[in-house]
């Protein structure tokens, strides 16, 4: 299994290299001429500037310089003189938090609903239609309706507080992205602890026990940790602020996961291993959840690998939708602001930096998914054992 994962990492890195090369050429295409042609200064002045910026070098040397700057995370400066990497580090946690909470919830709920619907054939049609409708909603439209319903129709005045960060909390030196990084770091550590505990637990029933306990405990434990770290109120405010965006993201993504999971469950019906499990005398629920469900999870996970670029695109689109809704505008300073917030000012440097970071995140998530698939799929383990 280790060999399989290492192999995947190597292939992934090679792919990332090709993607970065592609962004290099995208930049050359997006900026006609070069940077120095923005200035009037005579040929002598521009050629001096060209030499200083390395624009007179042959293409492959420029490419090497681009790769070097990517590897050292020196992604240049934006129009306001702020290093691009700082802008990205400030924007990234918003998108990451949406990704972790929204996609995580959608996978959990959608997996359960899809499992149930795919198993119970009678409800398959209704679920299919509902899920397909959810996935085909137009994000800006949905964002507006959710906001309008929350603020005006339901009349929950607390909702007004959800639509903005509370000023009295944030008027000090505290920046939202610092809190986000602390929160995400805590969650990552907790996830590591849970994985370690599952590995130590040994046999499946005990492992299931660990999974169940951690699923219940993760929210109170992380909240407690945040209060102990002294960032409790800020963390709660940020989570409350994300209520609307995460709701929309959940609604858009969950339908797709239901569709995939239901189709995969439908595919396992009538398989020999299902018949064998029934013949052993297992209850219908055990057959569904432990046997068919586990097999059906594999296509759903590999489908997620293929859908990852689209999921990231979806998050960015939802973020941008919140930021451009006329009177209902709720700007979310996430990756959308980096990726195309300043494109109209021809600030391509920021966009390129954003694409690089999106590529790196894609690599990390894909490695995570590969590991999950390798753990769940006994064929991978057997193949690796056969190869020694």
């Amino acid at each position: 299994m280790r060999r399989h994962v290492l192999n995947r990492v190597a292939v992934g890195l090679l792919g990332l290299l090709m993607f970065l090369t592609a962004t290099f050429f995208l930049a050359r295409w997006m900026i006609p001429g070069d940077y120095t042609s923005n200035f009037a200064g005579g040929r002598a002045a521009t050629s001096g500037l060209r030499a200083r910026l390395g624009l007179d070098l042959p293409l492959w040397q420029q490419w090497l310089r681009w790769m070097e700057s990517v590897l050292t995370f020196d992604l240049g400066e934006g129009a306001n003189g702020r290093p691009v990497i700082d802008s990205i580090l400030a924007a990234l946690p918003w998108t990451l938090a949406m990704f972790v909470i929204g996609i995580g919830l959608a996978f959990w709920v959608g997996g359960k609903v899809g499992r149930w619907a795919g198993w119970r054939r009678k409800s398959l049609t209704a679920t299919t239609i509902g899920a397909a409708t959810l996935t085909s909603l137009f994000p800006p439209w949905l964002v507006f309706l959710v906001l309008y319903a929350g603020l005006n129709v339901l009349g929950f005045r607390p909702f007004n507080r959800l639509a903005a960060l509370q000023f009295e909390l944030w008027n000090g030196d505290v920046q939202p992205f610092q809190i986000w990084w602390k929160m995400l770091g805590t969650l990552a550590v907790l996830a590591g602890v849970v994985l370690l505990a599952m590995k130590l637990a040994g046999n499946p029933p005990r492992r299931r026990m660990v999974a169940r306990v951690s699923a219940i405990a993760i929210l109170p434990v992380s909240l407690g940790l945040w209060y102990l770290m002294g960032i409790g109120p800020w963390a709660m405010d940020l989570l409350a602020f994300l209520t609307f965006p995460v709701t929309v993201l959940f609604l858009v993504v969950v339908g797709d996961i239901i569709l995939v999971m239901a189709a995969a469950m439908d595919g396992t019906a009538g398989s020999d291993f299902v018949t064998a499990a029934r013949a052993k005398g297992l209850s219908e629920r055990q057959v569904r959840d432990r046997h068919a469900g586990r097999v059906a999870l594999l296509p759903a996970l590999s489908r997620l690998t293929a859908a990852l670029p689209f999921a990231l695109g979806g998050i960015v689109i939802i973020e941008a939708s919140f930021g451009a809704l006329g009177g209902y505008r709720i700007p979310i300073p996430g990756m959308s602001s980096v990726l195309f917030g300043s494109l109209r000012q021809r600030n391509i440097v920021l966009t390129l930096g954003g694409l690089v970071v999106v590529g790196i995140i894609t690599l990390l998530v894909r490695i995570g998914l590969d590991i999950a698939i390798a753990v769940l799929d006994p064929r991978v383990k057997m193949e690796a054992d056969a190869h020694g």
Partner: protein, 325 residues
């Protein structure tokens, strides 16, 4: 070749049509197509162009914006333009982008899978290409391209082309290559090779027939993604050269009245139209998927062997050329 094609296309089409999802999806697309073609005809006959023109129309007899009425099915916007006419005019860009994306996605995915089947080395280098393409956040890249000042070159056709190319090369090719591998390693392919079939014949008769339903699923998902992304691009009013449903949604929200209520008729109609078109593509995808799983659900009868046709063999059944009961 023509004979070989008719042997699997017809039962497969039958399997596809036997599902109501496929029929509903096709009906939705058909209605939109009829509306798109009907719009210029309506403008020439029943609708006076000075009132109903989607870009410059104005009804001088009522106040604007107006609520739905018999003259204006969905009312008029704040500038006096007829909403229903704008809705009909907005069908064409979305439909073109979606359809082109659908075709290009499936063709690219199939081509990569087929090219990978020719040799091991080709498969390896193509696999690397697909792996790299999977890093491209397709909707984001399309939005970045659309924000370029030269975006007026990004017509619906070009948009669909690019979106389909990127989707087919990444998600489509990934899945189709994954399905091509076990087929090319199957015993009946070895048998075909031993009996003298060329690589081209193996691909044409064994590989492609079983990949086409799958290509259908991904082509349609690519189409749905293209429709939503293109709508979003025009919603951001980046593609200002033509107006479509995205712009309609945008103006319905922006030109709200004093209580903060939007132009409900335009908002709901345009958003619903976009969702309905996407839903149509999705439903066709579900039909494709059902047809691909027909051996499991067992809804299609085995076709009767024609006189002079090759006898039905197990490999042919496994290859998905023939749906078994």
């Amino acid at each position: 070749m023509a004979e070989a094609r008719s042997s699997w296309v017809r039962p497969w089409l039958k399997a596809f049509w036997s599902h109501w999802e496929a029929k509903a999806g096709a009906a939705i697309l058909a209605i939109f197509t009829v509306m798109a073609f009907g719009h210029p005809i309506l403008l020439g006959t029943a609708w006076r162009e000075s009132i109903y023109d989607p870009r410059a129309g104005y009804d001088p007899f009522i106040r604007h914006p107006s609520t739905p009425s018999w003259q204006h099915f969905l009312g008029t916007d704040a500038f006096g333009k007829d909403t229903f006419s704008m809705l009909m005019a907005g069908i064409t860009p979305s439909l073109i982008a979606g359809t082109v994306a659908a075709i290009v996605t499936s063709v690219v995915g199939l081509a990569v899978a087929a090219a990978g089947a020719t040799s091991r080395r080709a498969d390896r280098s193509l696999g690397l290409l697909v792996d790299a393409a999977l890093y491209i956040p397709v909707p984001v890249v399309m939005l970045i391209l659309g924000a370029d000042p030269r975006a007026d070159r990004l017509t619906p056709f070009v948009f669909g082309l690019l979106f389909g190319l990127l989707t087919g090369l990444s998600a489509g090719a990934l899945v189709m290559r994954g399905h091509a591998l076990p087929i090319m390693a199957a015993g009946y392919v070895d048998a075909a090779r031993i009996s003298g079939a060329s690589t081209r014949q193996v691909i044409g008769r064994h590989l492609l027939p079983s990949l086409v339903p799958l290509a259908g699923v991904y082509m349609v998902l690519g189409a749905a993604g293209a429709v939503v992304t293109q709508g979003f691009l025009s919603w951001l009013s980046y593609t200002a050269t033509y107006s479509d449903w995205g712009t309609l949604v945008y103006w319905a929200i922006v030109t709200k009245d004093l209580t903060g209520a939007p132009q409900w008729a335009a908002l709901i109609a345009a958003g619903a139209a976009l969702s309905l078109l996407t839903l149509g593509f999705h439903l066709i995808a579900v039909g494709f998927r059902r047809a691909a799983h027909a051996p499991l659900t067992g809804k299609v009868a085995l076709p009767k062997p024609k006189a002079g046709a090759a006898p039905l063999t197990k490999p042919a059944v496994e290859a998905g050329q023939i749906r078994q009961r």
